[in-house]
C-alpha cells in the first residue's frame, strides 16, 4: 500500500512508474543523484535541482521535530495519535532501469491539520527531463499517485499554490479555467484524473485493492 502506480512513456514505450513514500535514506540518495546535473546550463534543470534540494532540507527540518513521515503506516500512526497534526512527507517516483530504480520525480506534501493534502513541491528529476531519453507523463502521473494516496487516507482535498508557470498545467490537468494562485483537487477532479489514467492502464492498476480506482 506504500506504492502507487501510474503510467509513463519512456523510449516510446509505456511503462509503469511507482510513487512511494521516501525514507530519510532515499531522500539522501535522491539528493546525491542530482550532483551531476547541478552545473547544467538549462534553467529548468537548475530549478529542478534547487527545488529538490530545498524540499529535502525542509523535510529534514520537519523530521528533526518529529513532524515528518517516512511511510504510510508512519503517517497513519501520527494522525491516529493526534487528528490535528501537520505532517510533511516526500513521495518519490521511480521507474525500473535494468536492475535498479531510476528516480524520475518527487512531490513534497503536507497532511494539514484539517486532513487535507497540501502539495508544496512537484518537480521532475533531471533524468526525466533529459533530451536523450525523456520520460513522458511524470508530472501528471505523480498527481495521479497523490489522488490514490488521498483515497486510501480518505483525504477529500488536495490543494496547492499555483504560480504563473504551474497554473496552465493545472488548468489542463483539472479541466478548469482559469486556475489562479490556488488549485484544488476534490472528488470530481480526482475521478477525472483516475479515469484518464485508467484508459491506458494495465487492468491490475484499476483493481480497487491496489489503488482505489473506481
Amino acid at each position: 500500500m506504500n506504492k502507487f502506480p501510474f503510467q509513463v512513456k519512456a523510449g516510446g514505450l509505456l511503462q509503469t512508474a511507482l510513487l512511494r513514500f521516501a525514507s530519510k535514506a532515499e531522500i539522501q540518495r535522491y539528493h546525491r543523484s542530482l550532483s551531476p546535473f547541478a552545473r547544467q546550463a538549462s534553467t529548468i534543470i537548475r530549478d529542478a535541482v534547487e527545488f529538490t534540494r530545498l524540499a529535502a532540507k525542509r523535510w529534514r527540518y520537519y523530521a528533526s521535530s518529529g513532524e515528518a513521515a517516512e511511510s504510510l503506516a508512519n503517517l497513519q500512526r501520527k494522525v491516529q495519535r493526534d487528528s490535528t497534526c501537520e505532517v510533511a512527507f516526500i513521495m518519490v517516483a521511480t521507474i525500473r532501469r535494468e536492475r535498479h530504480d531510476l528516480p524520475v520525480g518527487l512531490a513534497y506534501c503536507r497532511r494539514t491539520w484539517c486532513h487535507h493534502l497540501a502539495l508544496d513541491f512537484l518537480a521532475l528529476h533531471p533524468h526525466a527531463l533529459g533530451q536523450r531519453e525523456r520520460v513522458r507523463g511524470v508530472g501528471s502521473g505523480i498527481v495521479f499517485g497523490l489522488v490514490q494516496l488521498a483515497r486510501v487516507l480518505r483525504i477529500p482535498r488536495i490543494w496547492g499554490e499555483a504560480t504563473v508557470n504551474s497554473a496552465p498545467f493545472y488548468e489542463k490537468l483539472l479541466a478548469i479555467r482559469p486556475v489562479k494562485d490556488l488549485f484544488i483537487i476534490e472528488a470530481p477532479e480526482m475521478a477525472a484524473i483516475a479515469e484518464r489514467q485508467k484508459k491506458i492502464s494495465d487492468p491490475i492498476l484499476v483493481s480497487p485493492t491496489t489503488g482505489g480506482l473506481p
Binding site: 529542478a48 534540494r53 530545498l54 507523463g137 499554490e161 508557470n165 479555467r177
Partner: protein, 70 residues
C-alpha cells in the same frame, strides 16, 4: 460543497492523457509553492549559519566579547 462550482472558474473539455503529456513535454513540471520555497530558503540559510558557527568553533575560534570601556 463543490468548491469549483462556487467560483468563477469554468469546467472545460477534458484533455486526453496524450495531449497532457505533449503539454508536459513542452512545459516541464518543475513547480514550487512560493510560500514553501521562501520557507525552505530560510531553513537552508539557518542551516548554513549554524554550520558556519559550528565550523568556526571546531577551528578554535573563540567568541569575541566587546571590550567595555571603563
Amino acid at each position: 460543497m463543490d468548491y469549483h462550482n462556487g467560483m468563477t472558474a469554468k469546467r472545460t473539455k477534458p484533455v486526453s492523457l496524450e495531449e497532457l503529456w505533449d503539454y508536459e513535454d513542452k512545459n516541464p513540471v518543475v513547480f514550487a509553492s512560493p510560500r514553501a520555497l521562501a520557507e525552505a530558503r530560510l531553513i537552508a540559510r539557518l542551516e548554513r549559519t549554524k554550520r558556519n558557527h559550528r565550523d568556526a568553533q571546531a577551528n578554535g575560534d573563540s567568541h569575541r566579547h566587546k571590550a567595555v570601556a571603563a
